[in-house]
Every structure is written in C-alpha cells, then in structure tokens.
Amino acid sequence: MAERTISILKSIGNPNKARMIAHLAKHRGESAEDLSRHLGYPLPTVYKYLRELEAARMVECEVKDRTQLYYPGNFELVVSPEKLMEMLEGEGVVDVYKARFGDEGMEHLKEVFEKVKAGNMTFRQAASTLGITYYELVSLLDETGAVNE
C-alpha cells in the first residue's frame, strides 16, 4: 500500500503526467498519438509517461483494432500527516537486513551495490555474495532506489 501511494505521489508531482491523467479522465480511450497531439507533448515523452503511469497503475491500456488506447486507472489518494508517518516509518527489508548484519553489513551492502550498478555483478551474484536470497536482494535494491538511480 505504501509503495502504491508513493508511486501515485511521484506521478502526481509531475504536472505533465497529472495533466495527462486529467485529460484521459475527460477523453477516455485515447492513443499515445492523440495525447501527443492534444497536449502538445513530444511522442517519446508521452510514451515514457504512459509507461510510468501504467507501472504505477494510474492509467490502463486496452488494445482495440491493433491500437493501444489509454484510460485513467482506478485510484484514490488520501494524504494526511498520520498516513505519511504510517507509510514511511514502517519497517522495511533494509531495517531487517541492518538488524541481522549490523553497520558492517550495511557497508558491505553498499560496496556490493556499487558493483551491481556498474554491471560488474548480477543481482544473483550479489545475493550470493551477501548471503541472502534473490528476493531480499531485489527488495533491498528497490527500497534503497539503487537500481533506479
């Protein structure tokens, strides 16, 4: 739930993406080309935004007559200080890893992540080096934002 809310917040933080969702709410079922024409954004930008919005499940796509048509996703955002605290202060995989391996383990993690980011180690090799499962490794990469940098 927290990730979902954060991804919605991230997307809404970009006015162009927010405009795209608002446009789709009014004109449901437009193609990327339609969006580019109506909103004046370059087509590659529209595709990039649509990919990100789809990943955040904020727009949905349907293929009709070989054309991909986009619709607004079904989402609602409720934000309050308490909600943010609940979302961001909750324990994550990083906390579990730190409790298990301590500060030294965190240092080792950073070193390994540098190799992963440079492509000098696969995710699975990194997991094996750290003595954790692939799932933990991917969760750690995701939580720290290391693979998206």
Binding site: V93, V96, V116, G119, N120, R124, Q125, T133, Y134, Y135
Partner: protein, 141 residues
Amino acid sequence: MRRKRDEGYEVLIPRAIANELLDEPRKYAEEIKVASPALASKILNSVETVNTAIKQGLIKVETVNYRKYSEIIDNVRKHLSQLEAKPEHTVKKGDPELITLMIQLYDKSREKVLFSTKDKGLLKALKPFEKRVEFEVLESI
C-alpha cells in the same frame, strides 16, 4: 502484463525464477514474521499476486531442457563464476536458466526474444551468447 498477453506475447520465466518469486519470499516471510509481522504480511501479499498471475496464465513457468542445453548452462555458469572468481557451484540457478531459456525459446521459434531486466550484470553475462539468440531488452513489462 495483461496488455502484453493481449498483444500476443507470452511472459515466460524458468522454474528457478518461479522458486525465487514464490518459495524464497515465503520462507523469508516465515523467518521474519515474529519480529516484523507487517513486513511479512506485505511480502506474502506480493507472493500471492505473483502466484495468481501464474495461475491465471499471465506468467508461464517454462522448463529448461537440461539434456539439450547442458553445455550452454555449463558455459553460463563458468562465465559467471569467472567474473567473481568464485566456485561454479555458488552460481545461483536463476541466471544460467534464464539465459538458457532465452536460447531455447529462440531455437524453437526463431523469433526475437524480448527480455525484461534491470540487471546490468546479467546483460553483460548475456553478451557472449549474442550470436546464439536474437533479443531485445525491455525496460519493464
């Protein structure tokens, strides 16, 4: 994923990766459930999502033909172990199975295989096999 299926694509993963997505997190959630119940429950929910996608056929678990592709698997394993100067048996099954499955699919269909990953190391490991398989890397599916 539904869109890819509607477009006629099949999303395939080898058995070793299905285990990484289902069995490993279940075990992990079990290990942490006393100390971190909320996180354990979140992990189990995500496992259930993957499990449902497999049951609904959105993700297909494919078996690698070990007999036919044993040499490829060995080569990938060797290549990865050399990169890290580690014994071959420490190479996790997922990487060799994934690369081998791509080759197996290409051999079968002779159509370009689309490969979705953020793992730059895995893409490097795939490089020596570029002549065996025609592929394109997708950012996400």
